[in-house]
Symmetry: C2
Subunit: 300 residues, 2 copies
């Protein structure tokens, strides 16, 4: 492997473990992975970009809901609008920690907000948000908070015949807007929670119901199997809602947010996954120690 | 284009239209298709292999149901077992013409038959059937009834940056068993009607419910959009249940079964699609005139 491979990864056990796995997977021997089985799946929030203080999609959604309340003040007394206006701490904690029940209630409201819309309408709203809204604590556009080392990991895996998928509890259609330009991954390799659409008058119209399960916890391998017909060989995540996906993979990478200086240091909603990593021999990435560069498009 | 491109296609309007579309799609100009949008989708039964007297998957399923009735004779009085045992002509006509109501009732029974099974169990049953059961009228294995010209069309499209998907009303998991070896298409590019699975004890277990809609008629663009985030640029089909998928594409190819000598000649369940082809300028393929070789692995 040359110096351009995993260039932002410092030498250490994580980098060595990744390179060793990829070498063994692609070379004849007991750990060889046939080409068809080379599926790699990655969580998004906290794995591919910053998820504190809230996963970025919630910023997009909450701004939209604020506009809805402005247009119809009667909504202010209803959930989830009320909890947001009152900044209900237990509600916000549930969002931040991706508590499945809170996320499910939010995704239902989210589905209702865009029911009847077309993909072009939704895409334009997401593009406007991406181009204009800055992350509140770090003061830059969200797309500038994508982790450069993970993009290099995608490059390494693709160069070795892996098909890379993103598998997030967040919205499939939200991620698809920027997947190709930001991650270099085709829309069809984006897996996430999603509404059902109907084909109407020659185009797609969004409905209110979720298609299948919420893509969190056991929903992750369920969505991955439905999409690919396989379970992943390589998986990356950062939180307890990734445990099932990571457990299903032969090689599991767990991102540990221990970099208070360049990002955030926290283990909330990741305690169980950190414990599992020790138990099952997953490779834990220390953002502080293992990554020399954190964000794409920037020198650090 | 060299002589090895579409080698089993005779010169004629269909071959010319395909080559012209691919050239315009990949060359700068008004009909250029950006790389990301190059999605091509194909029906399976009657488009990629023989579908008479019944789509092959029904042979697989009906043999399984005959075994179920043998094991539990009380099933003989229940539908769909009863209709099969009595060879009810209206029922069999509904199967042959892919009548959505008949297919839906069958897929529900199909879902029940394999509920609780694992992918490995189902795959082994399909492999056994593929390796041993011959098509009743043509006397060869079903995989020898795959149309060679369509495999050459896949090659042409892939060589020009298209991602090729199969989108069938039939079972997603059934097709995935042979997709890679037969079509050269990864499992993740197979779209079809499918059961929901749950992740249980580290593996997938099939449930009884369908995931989303039945993949027929409007269900085809719905499944394609859910899977890929786009509608197809190029689509191929052969029947009325393909109309919505073909209408959604910029270039539509309709296979006309007019080859009584090498296969079957019929327009049943394709009348509306043939009329649409004339109306909307779709490219109609005469199997008799446009294809010099019909089946893969064979000289004719």
């Amino acid at each position: 492997m040359t110096d351009t491979v995993l260039a932002s990864w410092r030498d250490g056990t994580a980098k060595t473990a990744i390179l060793d796995f990829v070498t063994r997977a692609t070379r004849q021997g007991p750990d060889f992975v046939p080409a068809g089985d080379r599926i790699a799946t990655f969580d998004n929030d906290g794995t591919l970009w910053v998820e504190q203080p809230l996963p970025p999609q919630f910023d997009f959604v909450f701004r939209h809901w604020a506009e809805e309340v402005k247009a119809d003040p009667s909504l202010a007394g209803r959930q989830p609008y009320k909890a947001l206006i009152e900044k209900d701490p237990s509600f916000l904690h549930g969002v931040a920690t991706q508590d499945p029940q809170v996320i499910e209630s939010l995704l239902k409201a989210f589905a209702r907000s865009w029911a009847g819309s077309t993909p072009a309408e939704f895409d334009a709203q997401v593009r406007e948000w991406l181009a204009t809204v800055k992350q509140p604590k770090l003061g830059v556009l969200y797309q500038d908070l994508v982790y450069q080392p993970m993009l290099e990991l995608f490059d390494l895996l693709k160069a070795n015949g892996f098909r890379v998928f993103v598998c997030s509890g967040g919205g499939r259609d939200f991620m698809r807007v920027f997947a190709e330009e930001t991650w270099g991954i085709n829309k069809e390799n984006i897996i996430g929670s999603a509404a059902e659409y109907t084909y109407t008058d020659g185009g797609m119209v969004r409905g209110e119901q979720l298609l299948g399960t919420l893509d969190l916890g056991p929903g992750k391998p369920e969505h991955i199997f439905a999409r690919t017909g396989r379970l992943p060989v390589f998986a990356g995540g950062n939180a307890d809602v990734d445990i099932e996906m990571l457990s299903a993979a032969r090689f599991a990478l767990l991102i540990n947010h221990d970099d208070a200086e360049r990002e955030f240091a926290y283990t909330a909603a990741a305690e169980a996954s950190l414990a599992k990593a020790g138990e099952l021999g997953w490779t834990v990435v220390s953002m502080k120690d293992d990554w020399s560069t954190l964000y794409r498009n920037r020198e650090q």
